[in-house]
C-alpha cells in the first residue's frame, strides 16, 4: 500500500466530537472559575510570614506590659493571640471579597 493511500485512509478515520462538546467544556471552565474565587485570600506562606512578624511584635509588647504591671504572663499568650488575630483577619478579608463579588 502506498504511503499516500495510507495517509488518505488515516485521514478518513478522523472522529468528530459530539455537537455540544465545546459548550459543555466552556460551562465546566466557568463553573471552575467561580469555585476558585471563593478560596482563602492569603496563601500559606503569607500567613506564616504574617504570623512570625505579628508574634514578634506581640511578644515584645506583652513583655513590656507584663514588666509594667508586674504580673506573670504565659509566654505562649502572644503567639496564640497572634495566630487567632491572623486567621481572623484572613477570614474577614475572604468574606469581604466574596461579598463584593456577589454585589
Amino acid at each position: 500500500m502506498k504511503d499516500k493511500d495510507l495517509k488518505q485512509f488515516i485521514k478518513q478515520s478522523e472522529y468528530t466530537t459530539s455537537i455540544d462538546f465545546t459548550d459543555k467544556l466552556i460551562e465546566k471552565i466557568e463553573a471552575e472559575k467561580s469555585k476558585s474565587t471563593r478560596k482563602a485570600y492569603w496563601s500559606t506562606s503569607q500567613i506564616i510570614v504574617g504570623f512570625s512578624l505579628l508574634a514578634m511584635v506581640s511578644g515584645f509588647l506583652f513583655h513590656k506590659i507584663s514588666n509594667f504591671i508586674e504580673s506573670d504572663v504565659s509566654i505562649a499568650a502572644p503567639f496564640c493571640w497572634s495566630l487567632i488575630l491572623l486567621f481572623g483577619l484572613s477570614h474577614t478579608l475572604t468574606i469581604s471579597k466574596y461579598a463584593k463579588m456577589n454585589n
Binding site: M1, D5, L6, K7, Q8, F9, I10, K11, Q12, S13, E14, Y15, T16, T17, S18, F21, T22, K24, L25, I26, K28, I29, E30, E32
Partner: protein, 192 residues
Amino acid sequence: MADKKLDKVTEIIHLLRNGDLEAFRTLVDLYKDKSLSLAISILKNRSLAEDVLQESFIKAYNNIHQFRFKSTFATWLYRIIVNTSYTELKKQKVSLDIDDNNETRELAFEEKHINSLNHVDQQKFIQMAMEQLKADEAVVLRLFYLCEMSLKEIQSITRFGSSKIRQDLHRGRINLKLQLEQLLGEEINDLL
C-alpha cells in the same frame, strides 16, 4: 496557509491569556476532532475519550501561561492529551464500546461490497481497523498522517524513543493494511 493558521493561533493565545473565554472556544474548535482521534487511538472508547479530552482542554486552559512558544501549540496540546489518555488507560481496564462494535461487525458481515458502502460506512470500517491496532501504533500513525507531525515532534509529544516511533510506524502500517484486508478483502483497492 499553515503560516496564517499559526498567526491566528498565536493571536488567540494572547487573547486567552487576557481571560477571553470565547477565544478559547475558537481554539478548541480548531483542534478538537484531531484531538479526539488521538484519545480514541489510546482509549478505544469514544465516551471515555471525550471525557479525557474535556479534562485535557481544561488543563490546557489552566496552564496556558506556561506555553512559551518554544514548540507549536499543537505539539503542546497533543502532549497533554496523549499523557492524560495514557494516565487514564493505566487507571482502568478499558473495554471496547460493545454497541458500536456490534454495529460495525454486522456491517462487515453483510456489506462487504465496497461499492455499495456510502462514505459514512467506509469511514466506520477504517475507524474499526484503526482501533484494532495497539495504542502506541495507532497514536503514532495518527500523529504522523492525520496531525502531520514530524518524527521529532512525535518524540516530543509521546516521549517515545526515535527507534520505537519508527518501529510503531512500520508495524502500524503493516497491521492497518492487514486489518483492512481482513475487513474488506481485495475490495480494499476500490477504496483507493
